[in-house]
């Protein structure tokens, strides 16, 4: 598997970023929704600490991914109408924004509540804002609503990928799949024609 992206598929590194972060973000989101309903206990405290550590990992991975994205090549876009390519870009823009906004609002929520922030019980990170109960509940709400907004954006993202795969029958999804192989030897050139 190539380390760098080529004309027919995304690189191993890009795929690893994509699928690792997808798993961590979705897993962490539903994990949080479930644990939030638990009775107060030490176990719950440790689960929250785990949730925070995973969120910080996502934030760190995002910045590494950004650097990698700037360094790596990109396979050309599959042929699609202009509005679809614009839509795809908007969706990707929102995804990137949310990948950053979710951990940061969580961090701010944690800080405003006055909780410590410890990374996998190894070291502590500073507070983003001062302790403030009113602000804490605002950040808490925003943090949760952003997750539901992320789900909405993901429906578009996954919907688009499936549409390419099942209806257009092109390589858009295949070239990002962990062990995917391009169907065609020659990639489609970008164009406005459907």
């Amino acid at each position: 598997m190539p380390l760098r992206s080529d004309a027919t598929r995304w690189s191993t590194i890009t795929k690893t970023f994509h699928w690792t972060m997808a798993l961590l973000i979705l897993g962490n989101g539903f994990f949080a929704l479930w644990m939030d309903g638990l009775k107060p206990s030490m176990e719950k405290i440790n689960m929250f600490a785990l949730h925070k550590s995973i969120g910080l990992t996502v934030l760190a991975l995002f910045f590494l991914r950004l650097v990698w994205r700037l360094a790596d090549r990109r396979p050309p876009e599959d042929a699609a109408p202009r509005w679809q390519r614009v839509a795809a870009q908007v969706v990707h823009g929102f995804l990137y924004l949310l990948i950053v906004a979710l951990p940061l609002t969580g961090w701010a929520f944690n800080s405003a509540h006055g909780y410590p922030l410890q990374y996998f019980k190894q070291f502590n990170l500073p507070a983003l804002v001062e302790k403030n109960d009113a602000l804490s509940s605002v950040f808490g709400e925003v943090h949760e609503y952003l997750f539901w907004f992320l789900i909405l954006v993901l429906v578009a993202h996954v919907g688009g990928a499936l549409k390419h795969h099942l209806i257009d029958r092109d390589d858009t999804l295949r070239r990002m799949l962990p062990f995917g192989r391009a169907k065609r030897a020659t990639p489609t050139l970008p164009g406005d024609t459907p």
Partner: protein, 186 residues
Amino acid sequence: MNPTIRRLSALALALALPFAASAADYKVGPGSTLGFSGKFQGQQFDGSFGKFDAAISYDPANLATAKFDVTVDVATAKTGDNDRDNALPGSDFFDAAKYRQAHYVTTGFSKDAKGNVIANGNLTLHGVTKPVQLKVVFNPNAGGARLSVTGTLNRLDFGVGSGEYKDTSTIANEVLVNGSLNLLPK
């Protein structure tokens, strides 16, 4: 030294001499604090007890007769976090319904290698009695004295934090205790 101060000093000495052989007795005045510091998820938190009382007998020149007798209402612990403050008096921690008061009584005083005064005593907390040492700093002042004490104890020695709350990777075992008492003559 000007003559007035010298005369006053002589007077003060003359007044103090008859009591020099025995420790002075003090009660706790306003402006006194009794607190503790723990560590939760790697971060220190500071708490204090709203209600406590102490009978202090102390003369730096005659430590043999010194004595601290301190009672603390553990239900009055406040740490600046509602969740924690609600949990502390509960059965998982202080169990204040059963063990409302903590009690510290000294058994003797000594000096460490650096010349600090160390109070040796027994702390009864959460129904468990264990020895606890406190470093003592005593500064007489116009109205009485300022007594500062610091020490450390292990919360698990006293069973503070039961069941899953024994986990010291989240709540550190070591707790610092500190007191700053404004002592008034009895």
